[in-house]
Symmetry: C2
Subunit: 295 residues, 2 copies
Amino acid sequence: MVRKPSRQVRVGLVQMSCTPRPDQNLKKALGQIAKAAKEGAQIVCLQELFRSLYFCQSEDDAQFALAEEIPGPTSKALAASAAKHKITLVGSIFERRAEGLYHNTAVVFNERGKMIGKYRKMHIPDDPRYYEKFFFTPGDAEPGFFAVPAGPACIGTLVCWDQWYPEAARLTALAGAQILFYPTAIGWHKEDGKEVRQAQADAWELIQRSHALSNGCFVCAVNRVGVEDGLTFWGGSFVADPFGRIIAKASHDREEILYADCDLGLIDWTRRHWPFLRDRRIDAYGGILKRYGQS
Amino acid sequence: MVRKPSRQVRVGLVQMSCTPRPDQNLKKALGQIAKAAKEGAQIVCLQELFRSLYFCQSEDDAQFALAEEIPGPTSKALAASAAKHKITLVGSIFERRAEGLYHNTAVVFNERGKMIGKYRKMHIPDDPRYYEKFFFTPGDAEPGFFAVPAGPACIGTLVCWDQWYPEAARLTALAGAQILFYPTAIGWHKEDGKEVRQAQADAWELIQRSHALSNGCFVCAVNRVGVEDGLTFWGGSFVADPFGRIIAKASHDREEILYADCDLGLIDWTRRHWPFLRDRRIDAYGGILKRYGQS
């Protein structure tokens, strides 16, 4: 079982806290991108909706004022940053697509600052303090899940709630993604006890590791930290290898840039030895397109 | 977050070692079923191909002699055992369907000894010492994945290699299964080092826990123990709850019956609070029916 020579790609995941001032958050993110690039990160990923507080904790229509068009100020700042530092950059933008039509959108810029991917979050949650169905229209692109050659790797972007869906990871991997990026904003309710907190963070890690494993690819999850109103965002950003093992993990309560060197040679190697893609029963998966049972 | 009154179902998973003598193995299994029933198990599950050694370590056509028709001696013995002890019983049989047509089949008997489910393994592995493609025709039932009301719970059966496929778990859960059973035969190659062994057993546990989590159901994995030729079967049978937490786990090297009380009330409760089924994008999953990319 000799492995191919390694093809290392360094990723940098920016885990940060946010303030009520978008300009401050954007400035901080740009600073962290610069730092990550300096440390050799070839692909940098920001957390979900990094430019603002997580504004979905209430159904407050004043928050729509945070949205921007793409291209718009934030996407232009990210594009310039990607070009300046010659990196691939994954950002997250509250997108205003038209009057009354808003999306939670991940954007990918290449090392020349060109936008090479725009992914509108497909699965939209709605839970107490996560009122995203109020704000975001579900993505409607065709196909909804995709991968893009992005410098040193072919990557796929998914956003937060998508992480609970094996279908989303599978489709993105089948589109050719070697690394899946999940910009995220997930936290504990202030009334949650220690046991519940642990179970939730464990589940969040487990499901994303399982995507790495079942698809034989890398997974990068990027979560925010800090207390915002009733939520304590739990950070814990991590990178899982194609066998579902965590190769790097951030703290639950500090701002940091998490680095990992992803050996892309592991993908083919892992898939040869645990050839899950080989044996998929695509003739028998039709029911996946149903809501439940036969209907 | 008050939960419904509990609806406990006791499962008993029979983890055993096998000898070259099928009659001995069957006798042992019947004894363990009786013991499990006496301890209150309402659903008992045996490991994959419990009646023999794991005969797929070489492509030896003499091993086809182990196969039986269904109904046949083993299925009749299992049916009688289920009726005698008034339990639901999940067994595993090397099935001879016709001349030159063999399956790796899970069978479900109700508490009156009636066969209420027959599942022919859908995903067939082929790796060194797991030459299953030589022996087993992939299942061709329509639908391939299903659930059956079986006494105290609606259950689904899948077999070993199926456990690496989120699609199989999803389809079985969408068919109504509250508990997924995975009769299994998985082991370490004798040349594998400690680190590889740990990674493999961890991955095996991880992927099945992820099915419990993403579908909000219980998962029961039942593996054999013992050294057979070049393989050390790693046991570690376990039960995961709908949040992906392990609620019972067996040793890696001893024969035992693993018991767990599954509170079916947790299923609806978990799915209400983490409503993954609610938000599935069935309009966008068409690519799951493709092998790779767009083709």
